[in-house]
C-alpha cells in the first residue's frame, strides 16, 4: 500500500525514505565491518613487525607494551565484529516481516487445523458416547436382571 502511495507520489514517501534509511544502514554496517577488519589486520601486521628481535635490547619493555596494546585492539575489533553480528541477528529477527508473516500464517493454519481436529474429535467422542449409552441402555433394559423382578411381581 505504501509502495503504491509512494509510487503515486513520484518516488517520495515512506517507502523511499525507508529504502534510503536501509541503504544507509547497510552502508554503515559495511563500513563498520571494513573498519574492524582493517583494524585487526593492521594490528596484526604491527604485531608481526614487533616480533622481530631488535638490536638495542633497551627497547624491549616499550615493545612489550606496544604488543599488548596491539593485541588488545585486535580483540576489541573482534568483539566489535561480534556485536555487529548480533545486531544483524536482531535485525534479521525483527525486520524479516516476510518470514514473520509467513510464520503467523502458518500458525493460524495450524491452529485452525487443530481446532477442526478437536471439534471433529469432540463430535466423534460425543457420538460414540451417545451410541454407547444407547447400546448400554438397550442392553440393560432387556437384561434378565432387569426383567426378572417382573416375574416375581
Amino acid at each position: 500500500m505504501n509502495k503504491a502511495a509512494g509510487g503515486g507520489g513520484g518516488g517520495g514517501g515512506p517507502t523511499a525514505a525507508a529504502a534510503a534509511a536501509a541503504a544507509q544502514k547497510q552502508k554503515t554496517l559495511l563500513q563498520r565491518v571494513d573498519a574492524d577488519v582493517t583494524n585487526i589486520v593492521d594490528n596484526f601486521n604491527q604485531l608481526v613487525n614487533l616480533a622481530r628481535v631488535n638490536d638495542p635490547p633497551v627497547r624491549n619493555s616499550q615493545e612489550a607494551f606496544q604488543m599488548e596494546i596491539r593485541a588488545a585492539r585486535m580483540v576489541q575489533a573482534a568483539e566489535s565484529l561480534r556485536n555487529l553480528v548480533s545486531e544483524l541477528k536482531q535485525t534479521a529477527m525483527f525486520s524479516g516481516f516476510g518470514s514473520l508473516n509467513e510464520n503467523v500464517d502458518r500458525r493460524i493454519a495450524e491452529f485452525n487445523r487443530l481446532e477442526e481436529g478437536s471439534e471433529r474429535l469432540l463430535e466423534r467422542v460425543g457420538e460414540q458416547a451417545a451410541a454407547s449409552l444407547k447400546e448400554l441402555e438397550a442392553h440393560y433394559y432387556s437384561s434378565v436382571l432387569r426383567t426378572s423382578p417382573s416375574e416375581g411381581s
Binding site: 616480533a51 628481535v53 624491549n60 573482534a78 568483539e79 553480528v85 525483527f94 451417545a130 432387556s142 423382578p149
Partner: protein
C-alpha cells in the same frame, strides 16, 4: 696471566680487575702501571710464603680488594687481621672516590662526559645479548598467545551463548509476539526483549483493564539460556465452587499445571547440550502458555464481572469481592467464581529461578498434597453428586468455552456482519453469563427430572428409558419406551385382515413417550394415550395423535404414569378388538361387555409413591344399576372390586385372553 694464576689456585683475589687510577680533564683514563708477570708471580709466591706479604706488596695490592671472608683463612704470625684492615682501608678509599664523583655529578658541577667509546663487545657477549632479547621476546609473544587464547575462548563462549539465546528467541518468536524495547535494554542481564502476551492490543473491547502481566520480559541468563521474568500474579485460574462445600474445579487442575516445568538441566550449568536447550525452550514456552492462559482467564473473569452488573434474566449476584463472585443459581444452589492463584508463591519463585537445587524437594512434596486434596475432593464430589449438581470442572470448561466463543471468535468474525447463528445460540451470544447461569440451572433441574424418571423406571420393569443427547446445553431429552409382547393372533390377523384394514389399524408393539426439558420447562409428548381433556369431551382418541403438554417437576411422575397406563390400556383395547371383543375405553379404564348390561372393567391405578410398582390394576364388575360397589365388611374391600396387583404386560395379555374366554362363554349363554 690471570688464567695461569687461576690454574695455580694460589690467587685469593677474586677481583682481578684493572682498576682505574684517575680520569684527567680530557677524559683520559689513567691506569696504574702494569705489573709484570714475574713480579706478580713473585708476589704470589710471597703471599704463599706469608712472611711479610702485605708490607712488600703494598704498591701492587693498592688496586686490589679483598673480601674479609676470603682473607680470613690467611694465617698471620703477628696479628692475623692486619691484611684485612688494610684491604678495608683501600676499599674505603675507592668508595670515597666514587661518592665524591657521585656528589659532583649530582651537583652538576662542570661535569662533562667526553665521547666515550662503547667498549667492543666480544662475540659471545653479542650472542648472549641476542639470546636474552630473543628469549624476552619469545616470552612476550607467549604471553600474547595466552591472551589471544583467553580472548578467543571468551568470545567463543559469548558466540555460543548468543547463538543459544537467539536460537531460543527465534524459536519462541514463531509462537509469540516478541518486541524489542531499547529503553529496557539498560537493565542488567536484559536484552530489552519482551513478549507481548495480549492478543488484540488494538481492540479495546477485549481488554477491559490493561493487564499488568501482558508484558513478559526476557532475561539473558549467564549460560546463554533465555529466561523470562514472570510477572506477579501470572498464574491464576478460575475456580468454580459450590457455596458451602469444597467441591471445586481446581483441585485436579493444579496437579498438572506445571507438571513439566521442573527443568532437568537445572544443576548442570556447564556443558549444555542441544537437548537441554531444547527442553529449556520448551519449558519457557509452556510457562508463556500458562501466562497466556492466565491472561485469558482474567479476561473471562473480568467479562463475567461486567456482565453481572447489568441485570439480565438468570443472573442473580449474591456476593462480590475482589476476584470473587457469587451467583445464586436456584434457591438451594449458589456457585462461587473466583480467580485463584494456581500455584503458591514458592512455586513461582521456583519457576523463576529454576536453577536452584531445592526444586526437586518442592516437586516431591507436591504429589502428596495433591493426593490428599484428591481424596477430599472425591468425598465432596460424592456428597455433591447426591444433590445432582454438575461437576465444577465441566462448568469451568463450559464457562471458558462460552466466553471464548462469544468474544474471541466474535472479534475474529466481526467483519462478517450477517453471521448465520443458531437460533438457540442467539441468546447465548447476547449474554454469556446469563446463558451460563441458565445452563447451570438447567443442568441441575434436568438432573432432578432424570432422577424422577429413573425412579419410575426402576419401579416399572417393562418400561425402558432412552437418553437422547441434544447437543445443546439447555435442552435435555429422554424417552420412555413401552414394548408390548407379540400378539399370538398378530400374524393371523395380519394375513386375514390385510385386505380390509389398513396396516395402521393393527396393534402397535411399541409406544414412546418423550420428555423434553428446555431450561426449566418440562414437556411430555406421547402417542397412543388420550389426554384427560379428550376423555372428558368424549372425543374418540386418535391412536396416532401425539399429545403434548407441559408440566412441572411435581406433576411429572403422575403425568408420565397416566401416559404409560393410557398406552397400556390402548394396547389392550386394540388387542381386544383384534380378538373380537366388545370393549370400550375410558381414560384409564377398559370396559368389557360381558353380559347384557354387565360390564367388566379393567382399571389402571397409578400411584407415583408406590414403591412396588407404580401401576396397579383393578378389576371392577359393574352391573349398570349401582354406581358404587358394596363394601364387604368381612373381606375389608368392595365386593365388586378385585385388586389384581402390579401386573406385567404378559400377565395383562393373558388376563385379556382369559376375559375373551369369559366373554365368549357368557355370550354363548
Amino acid at each position: 696471566m690471570e688464567e695461569n694464576a687461576k690454574r695455580n689456585r694460589v690467587d685469593l683475589d677474586r677481583l682481578p680487575i684493572k682498576r682505574l687510577d684517575a680520569i684527567d680533564e680530557a677524559g683520559n683514563e689513567q691506569f696504574p702501571p702494569d705489573v709484570s708477570h714475574e713480579e706478580k708471580r713473585l708476589g704470589m709466591i710471597r703471599r704463599i710464603d706469608f712472611s711479610n706479604v702485605v708490607a712488600e706488596n703494598t704498591d701492587t695490592r693498592k688496586k686490589q680488594k679483598k673480601s674479609p671472608k676470603e682473607a680470613a683463612p690467611a694465617p698471620q704470625p703477628a696479628w692475623p687481621w692486619q691484611g684485612l684492615v688494610e684491604n678495608l682501608q683501600l676499599a674505603h678509599q675507592e668508595l670515597s672516590i666514587i661518592i665524591d664523583l657521585i656528589n659532583t655529578v649530582e651537583a652538576n658541577d662542570a661535569v662533562a662526559v667526553a665521547g666515550m667509546q662503547r667498549p667492543k663487545q666480544l662475540p659471545n657477549e653479542i650472542l648472549s645479548d641476542l639470546a636474552v632479547s630473543a628469549a624476552t621476546k619469545l616470552q612476550r609473544l607467549r604471553n600474547l598467545g595466552r591472551y589471544f587464547k583467553q580472548s578467543s575462548k571468551a568470545m567463543e563462549q559469548k558466540v555460543s551463548k548468543e547463538a543459544r539465546f537467539y536460537g531460543s528467541l527465534i524459536r519462541l518468536q514463531q509462537h509469540w509476539k516478541v518486541k524489542r524495547q531499547r529503553l529496557l535494554a539498560a537493565g542488567p542481564g536484559s536484552e530489552g526483549f519482551t513478549f507481548d502476551m495480549l492478543d488484540n492490543p488494538a481492540d479495546t473491547t477485549m481488554i477491559s483493564r490493561p493487564s499488568p502481566i501482558g508484558v513478559v520480559r526476557v532475561l539473558h541468563e549467564t549460560a546463554g539460556l533465555l529466561a523470562i521474568q514472570r510477572p506477579q500474579r501470572s498464574c491464576r485460574s478460575i475456580s468454580i465452587r459450590y457455596l458451602g462445600t469444597n467441591f471445586s474445579s481446581k483441585q485436579k487442575a493444579t496437579g498438572n499445571i506445571y507438571g513439566s516445568d521442573e527443568s532437568p538441566q537445572a544443576d548442570k550449568k556447564e556443558a549444555l547440550t542441544d537437548e537441554d536447550v531444547n527442553s529449556w525452550v520448551k519449558d519457557t514456552h509452556s510457562a508463556l502458555r500458562e501466562i497466556h492462559r492466565s491472561i485469558f482467564l482474567e479476561q473471562v473473569f473480568d467479562r463475567v464481572n461486567r456482565e453481572s452488573y447489568s441485570p439480565s434474566p438468570g443472573i442473580n449476584v449474591t456476593g462480590m469481592r475482589e476476584d470473587f463472585l457469587q451467583l445464586a443459581i436456584d434457591p438451594d444452589t449458589s456457585i462461587c467464581l473466583c480467580l485463584v492463584s494456581s500455584m503458591n508463591e514458592d512455586d513461582i519463585q521456583m519457576i523463576d529461578s529454576r536453577r536452584h537445587p531445592q526444586n526437586g524437594e518442592n516437586g516431591l512434596t507436591r504429589p502428596d498434597s495433591s493426593a490428599s486434596a484428591n481424596t477430599n475432593e472425591d468425598n465432596d464430589s460424592l456428597k455433591m453428586n447426591k444433590f445432582g449438581v454438575p461437576n465444577p470442572v465441566s462448568l469451568e470448561i463450559y464457562l471458558l468455552h462460552v466466553f471464548h466463543k462469544n468474544f474471541h471468535v466474535k472479534v475474529k468474525e466481526r467483519h462478517f456482519a450477517t453471521r448465520a447463528s443458531v437460533p438457540g445460540q442467539a441468546l447465548a451470544d447476547s449474554c454469556g453469563l446469563s446463558h451460563f447461569c441458565k445452563t447451570v440451572a438447567h443442568r441441575i433441574f434436568s438432573n432432578k427430572v432424570l432422577a424422577e424418571i429413573e425412579c419410575l423406571v426402576s419401579r416399572i420393569p417393562y418400561l425402558q428409558l432412552l437418553s437422547h443427547p441434544t447437543w445443546h446445553s439447555r435442552t435435555s431429552s429422554w424417552s420412555l419406551s413401552l414394548k408390548f409382547p407379540e400378539s399370538i393372533f398378530h400374524a393371523g390377523c395380519l394375513s386375514k385382515y390385510s385386505n380390509i384394514y389398513d396396516v395402521k389399524h393393527l396393534t402397535r408393539s411399541q409406544f414412546h413417550t418423550k420428555i423434553v426439558v428446555k431450561d426449566d420447562q418440562v414437556t411430555v409428548s406421547g402417542e397412543g394415550a388420550p389426554g384427560i381433556l379428550s376423555s372428558f369431551r368424549g372425543i374418540s382418541a386418535d391412536v396416532f395423535s401425539v399429545s403434548c403438554y407441559g408440566c412441572d417437576l411435581d406433576d411429572l411422575p403422575l403425568v408420565l404414569l397416566q401416559q404409560i397406563a393410557g398406552q397400556i390400556i390402548h394396547w389392550l383395547h386394540e388387542e381386544a378388538l383384534v380378538v373380537g371383543m366388545k370393549v370400550s375405553r375410558d381414560f384409564l379404564c377398559l370396559y368389557f361387555d360381558v353380559d347384557q348390561g354387565d360390564m367388566l372393567g379393567l382399571v389402571a391405578h397409578v400411584d407415583p409413591h408406590d414403591v412396588d410398582g407404580c401401576i396397579s390394576w383393578w378389576l371392577i364388575m359393574e352391573d349398570g344399576l349401582t354406581e358404587d360397589g358394596k363394601f364387604s365388611r368381612e373381606k375389608g374391600e368392595y365386593e365388586n372390586r378385585r385388586f389384581l396387583g402390579h401386573l406385567s404386560l404378559e400377565a395383562l395379555y393373558s388376563l385379556l385372553m382369559d376375559l375373551v374366554n369369559l366373554c365368549s362363554t357368557t355370550g354363548s349363554h
